[in-house]
Assembly symmetry: none
Homo-oligomer: 236 residues x 2
DNA sequence: CGAGCTTGTTACGAGATTGTTACAGCTTGG
DNA sequence: CCAAGCTGTAACAATCTCGTAACAAGCTCG
């Protein structure tokens, strides 16, 4: 049932010993477009962080066994994992003071009770802060084309249109790299996924289908003969 | 339901030191149905934002005195204003990189030159995104469907109908988010609860039962292949 | 208890989606 | 202008998705 696309989505590792909290966070993060790795305890979290190279780690401070604090410390110790941002969940506000006193390696923290929405916002903002190169915008717009990735909605000149899963993905990839040439290989990789064994001509077919649906905005997808395709902003 | 004046229109605060830009934006936003507050500099913008409780703030990045960036930071610092969405106007695309590095609190940004129309679209989409049904109405109505949540009553074209608990919940969730796509996962989460371990196909079944009972209004529930379902207002 | 209702699961078929292929038209370089 | 190579287009088959119906388990209420 998943519209899976491992390649260019960010992986978030979350660790909490309460299954409910874990599921809730996972669901909301997935809904916000992240891939999620779940860990029920500190040991598992540490292992996953080392093997799966997540973009970010969300840790519950209080866990049986390895606490979130210890996991964070371990991560900071090794070069391979030392730069992974850490968002710490803490039960009480006054715990934070102690943590800060301990020179916690967390990039941000949230005190319980928190709303899942808040966590998602924090995760996004920490990612934005720590990875200036890749801004993840939910809202894309190029010329008359507007895309809301969260709602999976596309509007052409204000009018809502439906796209299939593949078309949608292809469109958003082109839009977020507007102005830059995308080779068929890159598109195959980022739209269809790493291990796909798909003919490059397939890209052409989907580009055609995209253009057909885009109607007046079809011109925004340029063909660069011999290389691939490029979305262009309309010249004013 | 009300044709009334100021009360239920959204207030947008715009700040720019160029009078021309300010007027142009104000005009277009008013035309789009918003109330507009104008500020010529950062200080005034900050004051208005604190006293007038706007739904959203549009800030020019470069202003004499307090810059848009500083205003945004100030807003984020205080709980009363920290949740107001910020749309930032920037002169050049490469300014954006610097902004991101500076931990911008903006929800979206637009680079100059921009069309007023584009700003209006952005404002609308940011508002759509950041305001997930703040009003909980007892009375819902979409097309010929009318729901009274207190009496637990549903009327289709005036005729009363019985719905089961699940059907009722599903219907109201769809109605309150009329026009917006709901994935099966979201529906499972919001109708069945997040700890439920239920197959996504179950959603399909209940959608079908809903449509069956809705009769003439069945068309109001759209299927968005590959993603989920959406309730639409019949006017479109 | 038991009939009837509610609800989640499952099977299946129609139809949509999608990758492939063939071919025609176009661009490019000589 | 021609030949070679790309790309646009259309058609096709494999696959996937969703609507439909049937079924079984659970629940309610007499």
């Amino acid at each position: 049932m998943s519209l899976s696309s491992k390649s260019n989505r960010k992986r978030i590792l979350i660790a909490d010993d309460e299954p409910d909290v874990l599921s809730l966070l996972a669901l909301n993060l997935q809904r916000a477009g992240f891939d999620v790795l779940k860990a029920e305890d500190g040991e598992k979290a540490l292992n996953l962080a080392r093997t799966e190279n997540p973009s970010m780690v969300v840790l519950d401070l209080m866990m049986p066994g390895l606490s979130g604090l210890e996991v964070a410390k371990q991560l900071k110790l090794q070069p391979a994992t030392s730069r992974i941002p850490v968002l710490m969940l803490t039960a009480k506000a006054d715990e934070v003071d102690r943590i800060v006193g301990l020179e916690l390696g967390a990039d941000d923290y949230v005190t319980k009770p928190f709303s899942p929405r808040e966590i998602v916002l924090r995760v996004q903002s920490v990612l934005r802060r720590t990875e200036p190169a890749t801004v993840v915008a939910d809202q894309l717009s190029v010329g008359v084309i507007q895309v809301d990735r969260i709602r999976h909605e596309v509007r052409i000149a204000g009018e809502s249109l439906d796209f299939t899963a593949t078309e949608f993905k292809l469109l958003t990839v082109l839009m977020e790299r507007c102005g830059r040439l995308q080779s068929r290989e890159v598109l195959l990789n980022d739209v269809w996924g790493y291990e796909s064994v798909i003919d490059t001509r397939t890209v052409d077919t989907h580009i055609r289908r995209l253009r057909e649906k885009l109607g007046v905005a079809a011109d925004l997808i340029e063909t660069v003969r011999g290389f691939g395709y490029r979305m262009v902003a309309p010249s004013e």
